[in-house]
Symmetry: C2
Subunit: 137 residues, 2 copies
DNA sequence: CAGGATCCGAGCGGATACTG
DNA sequence: CAGTATCCGCTCGGATCCTG
């Protein structure tokens, strides 16, 4: 997709003749978006909600490792970004459903590319991790 | 790319007949990879290094906003993951170059998809942000 | 030039207890 | 069931000073 020009100034000209404008890169919204969906749980929830709408506790069980606090916070954040919708059914006991908005579903595609990369190179990453001396400063 | 099966169990079966195994999702390495390259600067550096190798201060100026500490730490992390190589030229004053490994360059592709999405939907995200009442708990 | 060392505030994120 | 409220440790990440 690096070859398809959409009219928007592409941030990734690595295989294009253009020698890249660094200012354009530094000011690009890539960082912002990553700060929003790049946290510990957001993309996991987006991926999970991408399969079908889920109830609150359904998500809680599915991710299993996330705390109630973080699940709520993350869902609220995704909702505020317009990536996730929230529907309350006024029943007893109450039922709340979460799902992806069209915007969220559009995010699912590039996210899937990254997820696929992660799965494919998982072993490779872990191997290098152990090999390299971890002298973190 | 959601339709292409690579032999690896796909985490994203949202448009596939398979109703998704949630255990597989929770245990998938997507979260791990995001924890590694999903921080504030990693993907920005990967994108920047994807254009051509850079010197240390060159990166420092290009990103401009990153501190020395974080630049070094992030580069070390990417190096430990095998995404970035580091080459020291024993000159005076010393010159250190950073660049993408083949693994890092392979990451550039899915990253570009996400970056493109970010650029395309930047306005949309910001609009929703202001519209929605921010009741974060 | 390319970092290392140290200090520090801010926020993430988990645990627990409580509620409509 | 679907949250809210509070406490708390931990890490992220910036600022500053120092070095080979």
């Amino acid at each position: 997709m690096s070859g398809t020009n959409t009219g928007v100034p592409s941030v990734l000209a690595h295989d294009l003749p253009r020698p890249v404008p660094p200012d354009e890169l530094a000011a690009c919204p890539v960082g912002d978006v990553f700060r929003r969906v790049g946290d510990k749980w957001s993309m996991l929830l987006v991926i999970l909600l991408g399969t079908r709408p889920h109830r609150y506790n359904e998500l809680h069980r599915a991710v299993e490792g996330i705390s109630q606090r973080m699940l709520t916070r993350t869902l609220r954040g995704l909702e505020a970004d317009g990536l996730v919708w929230r529907e309350v059914h006024p029943t007893v006991p109450p039922g709340v459903e979460y799902g992806l908005t069209p915007l969220g579903r559009s995010l699912l595609e590039p996210l899937s590319a990254l997820a696929d990369w992660a799965v494919r190179h998982e072993a490779e990453l872990n191997k290098v991790r152990r090999t390299a001396p971890n002298r973190s400063g």
